[in-house]
Symmetry: C2
Subunit: 403 residues, 2 copies
Amino acid sequence: METVVMKFGGTSVATPEKIIGVAKRAIAEKEKGKRVVIVVSAMGKTTDTLLGLAAEISAEPPKREMDMLLATGEQVTISLLAMAFKQLGHEAVSFTGWQAGIETESVPRNARIEQIHTERLEAVLDSGFIAVVAGFQGVDRIGNITTLGRGGSDTTAVALAAALKAEKCDIYTDVDGVYTSDPRFVGGARKLEQISYDEMLELANLGAGVLHPRAVEFAKNNNVPLTVRASYSDEPGTIIQEVVTVEKNLIVRGVAFEPGIARVTVTYNKPFNGSLANIFMTLAENHIDVDIIVQSISEEFQPSVSFSIKEDSLEEVRRVLDVNKETIGFMSTDFEVGLAKVSIVGSGMVSNPGVAARMFDILRQSEIPVKMVSTSEIKISVVVPGGDMEKSANALHEAYGLG
Amino acid sequence: METVVMKFGGTSVATPEKIIGVAKRAIAEKEKGKRVVIVVSAMGKTTDTLLGLAAEISAEPPKREMDMLLATGEQVTISLLAMAFKQLGHEAVSFTGWQAGIETESVPRNARIEQIHTERLEAVLDSGFIAVVAGFQGVDRIGNITTLGRGGSDTTAVALAAALKAEKCDIYTDVDGVYTSDPRFVGGARKLEQISYDEMLELANLGAGVLHPRAVEFAKNNNVPLTVRASYSDEPGTIIQEVVTVEKNLIVRGVAFEPGIARVTVTYNKPFNGSLANIFMTLAENHIDVDIIVQSISEEFQPSVSFSIKEDSLEEVRRVLDVNKETIGFMSTDFEVGLAKVSIVGSGMVSNPGVAARMFDILRQSEIPVKMVSTSEIKISVVVPGGDMEKSANALHEAYGLG
């Protein structure tokens, strides 16, 4: 019997009525003769309420205890959803992360799934029950409750789909698919029928916001077909899978953008060759995500490296660099905030030279200064002033004929 | 190093401020050089809110899922309390029921603790951390979250005190000790300094409401000294332990009472001797608590048995009896609601004949009809009309010189 995994986010389960709606939607799949696993997030604003309670007690609560606290959010949803199934005449069993066998590393608030022990889930599914699983959470080897960080529920859904060898994993969300760009800011943005994992990965990484990159990566590595679709309609959504049969010819498939970027430049001691590695090792040890890294060494200048981070981690980056100044061995740092990243993505790029040159030309025509550049085989990103983000995205979207 | 277990109920942890207050109270014990375990309930009205959510989905939600839902209440409290300790400069680790190794039978909403695997708790305590444990919950052998039913958090505290061989178990509550009767209804009620387990057990069973009988029984069986004391003051409270050195001479130590009682009378087939056992086996299998049982067989009448139950289980009792009418083998049933139980308790009774006679005489003088009677070595209970409950309690409290 085929297995389907369905994932519903917080807004889709925000009230008891909506939970009943989700149950009905899942029952339709069940009645097609599928084994059904549903992954859900915390109801609506529950997480905010819990964060508010914690903030009343401590400005910097211990991360392990934050996980303990936040994990209750999804536990409420799964129990209510299981009750809804029973009420609608179907048998369901709810599972917390640890009950679903989701074992993670011991990194509170940002744990990665290490393995999934599916025995109990399989047994319940084989008995004809619907399995309702708490997203976003797991358990480490010594029994601490962990949470998976941003996009955690998507990751739970994909990881379960992979572990259960599911036919598909449907991510129900508040948009009806993946677009060529964000329709709220780019007038001509258009929904894509299909997209490859790599393209989605770049779009997800670039702030398209529909799916978390960890989830997409997990899907790609395990070849799980993913669908992003609306929880409020029966529209087919966008399928994310390895072979994209339609629209192959377009070089650029989407334009993504993300505000709130800061640039950090570190100038370091010429003779100390370890500095570059030290900087990024130190940041990684402090769980700081660095995005674009640009380095260019010349004989004339002190060596320096620039990198982009999210603005809201700037304080932490400054603190970490200061504390480790001696170990890292750097001379000075320089920061710039209020930036944005704009990127074009498309797997056709790899065989089409001149895409970057064209991009820079389009931006120059719009008089947009380019602060940083980063390229991969299927993506080119530029960092521009925040105020130019929307203009850049629209100009690129139009120039590449995506509308 | 001595271990103390401290238990705080829902009203004591109703707000973040109160949680910080609880933490301060526990830190005082810790600074006396103790190993400290704190057991807490869900915050204030959390349980009611969760019940409300469930009620919006189903009038009769599956019990397993109710446990899943309700267990989140204490999980929120333990994480916040652990954060409060950290904020106050002390190290603490929170534990859900399953993390604390509290293994229960597989009876949702009313599970009994079967054993406690203390390895992890011991390790954390030995490292100098304060352990914060979720009351009211455990896990069954196959990993389902269970809750312990009424008085569950008291039971958790006492069971942990027994398992950890604690020096004492302090139950912090919204009253400052055990009284000779309920001061809200009996003017002269007075706080007791000490009371024996058996006396407390009878008082607890009889609706004194301070401590759940399961907790007292657990304490008695494991010889755990219990203290009932106020969470809002430093008054010493009432100590519950085996040897009571003070006030030995009083025959009656307390007057307890409880409204909301119903009487059920079942008349059964004379030749079928199994009927009596069948009735109570059937009720027990359906997890219905029966209190007083009265039977008197004479040659003249059909055999019948009367028993008292809580009014709110009457519907269920009627349903269970109806469904099992043939198996049980009874003829007719008769019900009376709106009754109350009033009891006198004291370990001195056993060596003082005539206590019951005196009790009936006092009630007769107050013109209170006695519907049922039950006696034990240290307790006499009568069932009276609900409207006479308070009058009965006051008359008995005064007549036995408890004021």
